[in-house]
Every structure is written in C-alpha cells, then in structure tokens.
C-alpha cells in the first residue's frame, strides 16, 4: 500500500486495476468522456485550420456564391419565374453540405490512411464514429457559414421572396437532411476505404450526377422516374424537395414529389438506416484492420 502511494501517478492509468483484463473494463462514463474528447479533438484541427488561414473565406464562400449566381443568371436569361431564382439560392446553400460530406468526410478515411493516421485511429481506445463525428462537426461549421452566406446574400441580392407557413417543419426537415447526409457520408467513408480506389475520383463522380438527380436547381419531380429513384436514395434530393415546398409555400412552381411530411418521414428512415449501416461498416473495417492489417497500409 505504501509502495503504491509512493509511486508517481501515471497519466495513462485512470484507476488501479488488478489485471490487464480489468483495466480494459471501462465504465460507461469513461467511454462517453473519451468519445466526447475524440469528437472535440478531431474537430479541433478543422476549426483551428479555418481560423489560421482565412483564405477559405474567399475560396469557399465568395467563389461558390459566384457559381450559384451563374445559375441565377441562366434563369434570368431565360426569363424564368422568380421562384426558380429562389430554388437556385436554396440549392446553392445545400451544396455546401453535400461538398462537405463528400470531400471532408467520405474521402477522409482514405486520406487519413495516406497520411498514416488511420492506424492510430484503429489502435486508439475510441469509437471510429466519434472520429467521423468530429470531422463532421469541424466541417459543419464551415458549411453552415457558407450556406448562410449563400442564402442571405443570395436572397438580398437577387430579391428572393420566401413564403414559409411551417417554420418548425422546415427546421426539422433541414436537421433531418443533415443527419441523413452525414450518415451517408460515414457509409461512403468506409466504402471508399474498403474499395481501396482513388477517393478523389469517386468523390468527383458523385458531384454533378448527384446535383442533377437531386434537382439542385429545379423541382426533382420534373425528372420522373429518375427523380423518384433519387427521392428514395439520396438525402439531398428528398431534403431539397421538402424544403423547396416549405420555403415557397403556395407556389405553383414547387412541384413537390411527395408532401413535406412524408418526405420528412423518408428522411427519418434514411437517417436511421445510414447511421446503422455506417456503424456496422465501421465495425467491419475495424475488425479487418486489426485482423488482417491491410486496411491501414499506405499506397494501395
């Protein structure tokens, strides 16, 4: 007893234990705190990176806003009804989240492998979902800012008039869309890693086709069967369709595929399904990484 009290406290031991097996038994509180620390630890470099290099304000806020503006001017050249300008602004705002999910989440585990961090993640006593959640939260700040700028500046500059009757439902649909999108991002992160292919190319492949089938700039119902397929599989498509109907209530141009309430339910199903699949796939890759030791090898 006296020997134990004389020894300096180890920063790696949270409590005295009788055996390694005993040491591996963590209380739920300790698991929770470790995972919360993981989330904040993984979000930290993203947030601090933004602070340290403000060039992103120009490249990731102003320039994408100009891209959105290009589509506004296409509709102006076509003398489209004003609601369509609003659709473009709304779509432009939501693009920020899709790009964030694809570039800073789906492709990230692959890049972490390239950088040599992935093996550290697998060996550390924390959940991989916490890592991905940390990435999501770090990136989400940037995406929210970008989306807000596109939405606010676009609305003011191009005179978009929103007509919202159900604010609560609109907010709920937006949050559900984000959860489903980031759940899909987690699934794609594991799939990109498992496929071992070029994440960059896969990410590129999932941009314009998804914008098209999601009806980023026009009602997705105009795409017929393709639109129906998108509504049932892509959170961006169903979320945008519902938000368009809720943000331009009463407009004859919104042309919703289903009612916003039904689309909100679809988003709930998508959110639960994608997060569950992500959890399963993350366990699979963790098992594979530990058993076969190949997933973390660089240069595949």
């Amino acid at each position: 007893m006296s020997e134990r009290s004389a020894a300096p406290p180890s920063p790696f031991v949270s409590r005295p234990t009788a055996s390694p097996a005993d040491a591996a038994r963590w209380s739920p509180r300790r698991i929770l705190i470790t995972n919360l620390r993981t989330i904040s630890g993984r979000a930290y470099p993203r947030v601090i990176g933004m602070m340290r290099e403000p060039s992103w304000l120009f490249f990731e806020i102003l320039l994408p806003f100009l891209t959105t503006s290009a589509f506004v001017f296409v509709y102006r050249a076509l003398q489209a009804p004003p609601e369509y300008i609003g659709f473009v602004v709304l779509g432009g705002a939501m693009t920020a989240f899709w790009l964030n999910v694809m570039w800073l989440m789906a492709a990230q585990l692959y890049w972490e492998k390239d950088q040599g961090n992935l093996e550290l993640y697998f060996t550390a006593p924390m959940s991989m979902m916490s890592i991905l959640l940390g990435m999501a939260i770090g990136g989400l700040l940037m995406s929210c800012f970008r989306a807000a700028v596109v939405l606010i500046v676009g609305t003011v500059l191009y005179g978009v008039v929103f007509s919202v009757d159900q604010w609560l439902l609109l907010l709920l649909v937006f949050l559900l869309t984000l959860i489903a999108l980031y759940g899909l991002g987690m699934v794609l992160a594991t799939l990109f890693l498992l496929w071992g292919r070029e994440a960059w190319h896969l990410t590129q492949l999932l941009q314009e086709p998804v914008y098209f089938v999601s009806g980023l700039n026009f009602p997705v119902a105009r795409l017929g069967v393709l639109g129906a397929a998108a509504i049932s599989t892509i959170p961006l498509a169903v979320g945008l369709d519902a938000m368009r109907q809720l943000a331009f209530a009463g407009s004859v141009h919104t042309d919703g595929f289903l009612s916003p309430e039904v689309e909100a339910l679809i988003l709930v199903v998508m959110a639960v399904t994608f997060v569950a699949i992500a959890r399963f796939l993350l366990q699979v890759i963790e098992r594979l990484a530990r058993r076969e030791g190949r997933l973390t090898m660089r240069g595949s």
Partner: protein, 314 residues
Amino acid sequence: MNVLAQAGAPRARAPHPTRREMAANAWRTFRTAARLGFQIEANWTDPLPFLVYAVIKPVFAALILVVMLEIISGGQADPAFRAFIVIGSALWSIVVGGIAGFAQSVLEDRERYRMLKYLYVSPNDLVTILLGRGIWRLAIGAFGGIVTLSLGVVVLGLPFALERIDWALLFMAMAMGIVSIIALGMMLAAVSMQTRQDAWQYPEAVAGAIFLLVGAVFPLVVLPSAVQAVGLLTPLTWWLEGVRKALFPDIVTAIGGAGSLYSGLTGRAAPSSAEILLVLLLTTGLVTLAAVLMYRWSEHRAKAGGLFDLTTGS
C-alpha cells in the same frame, strides 16, 4: 553526374548546359511528368470505368442546364440557345480540367505523395514538371467536352455541319484558349503553394466563379455593366465566343447583343472573327504575364518559408 552525359567514355563538358541540352532536358522532364500524370489519372481503374469517369461530369453539368432550359421553355427551347448552353458547358470542362490539373498536382505532391520538396530540389524546372503532371487533366477535360458536344449533336439535335466550320478561327482560338487556361492553372498552382491541404476544392471554386464572368452558359448582357467589363477583360470570354462562332456560325453571341456593354462601346451587334482573335491574343498575353509573375513570387515565398516540405493535414 550530369543527367545528359551519355554512356561511355567521359568527356570534358562546359560548366553549363547548352540551349539544346536544356531543351532536351525540359522535354524529357515534361514527358516523364506527363507519363506519371497519366498513370495517376488513369491507373486507378479499368479503361471503361475511366472513360465513364472522364465524361460523366461534363455530361451531367450540361444536362442540368439543358433541363433548366427545357423546364422554363416548356420543351419549346430555341435550338440556338440550346446549342449555346451545350457548347459553353462542354468547353467549360476543359477549363475545369486545365485549371485543376496544375493546382492539384502541387497539393498531391506536397500533401499526399510528399514529393514536392524532392521535385523542387531536383535539377528540373518545377514549372515543367507541373505542366507535365497537369496536362492530362486538361486532356481528360477536353475528351469530356468532345463527348458532351457529340451527345448534344446526336441526342439533342444541335445544328452542326462539318462543312460550315471555320477551321482557322477554331484552331487559333483553341490554341490561345489553351494557353490562357494553362496560365490560369499556373496562377492557381501558385496559390496552392501557399495554402493548406483543404485547398482541394479551390480550383473548382475558381472555375465556378469565372463561369459567371465569361458568358459560358448565358449572354453577358444579363450581367451588370461592371461585371460585363470584367468579363470582356477575361480571355476565356473571347475563347468561348471564338470557338462557338467557328463551330456554329449562326449561334447567339455571348459578348454582344442589344443593351450589352460591348455593343454600347463599339456600336456593333457582335464581334467579328478578327476582333475576337485580336482581343483573345491581347488578354491571353496579359494573363500569361500575370501568371509568370505570380508563380515566381509564390515560388520564392514558398522557398523562403519552407512551404515545399510542409504537410498541413487537417
């Protein structure tokens, strides 16, 4: 040992390589970098998925615009405007590929392969290496553009006639357009040397912003006059106009038209072919000069600040 030394007996050499040796060395560097660039771009998959990858982005980008046009026109779109949109969208894939190629080569070699520092200290010019690395993305963009244009002619029935093509205008406009795209790509490569890893999306963001200014998919006349003026100073505006005019002589002008700044300044409805080429030459020269200056400044700053061997993973 001098890389140009031939096998066999050593012979006395001048301390500096001759111009011919420098040209041969630069060509070899370019060829090797281009080969590497092709393998990085194409070796990740089989030929068929690669071809799908090459065309999917420009084709869907054009489809988005075509559907927007068809929805608003109720399926009765003006064929000339449809052709305008498809050509602009197809040509834009060359711009995106060209601009992205050079900037992302810097990021890949610095952040991912961690070779940029070795490339920089090797006895090769970094610009030549970047040109070689980036040229394939430009070529892939061009391939995607050609496929998009072909689909436009075959599927959408764009009024295309081979015998009406102005080959001289097409060739000269394309040559100068490619130079200006490469110059813009080098500018962005210079920016990438100074930025962190998350700069992967910057090239697309820049291309998207220029997309607004150059009348790629709508006539400049719908923009405010000040923005039209910026567009008229951009070589890509004149490149697009030249290529459109060469391929489809009866197409809508992006630069002129009633109420446009161009028509207000010149009193003409649309620029002539000679005018397009002259302004394209001038603006390309200016952009190339700016790219050279910007690249030199960036390289100097990166060298002084140790940015070539910096990995900024976030």
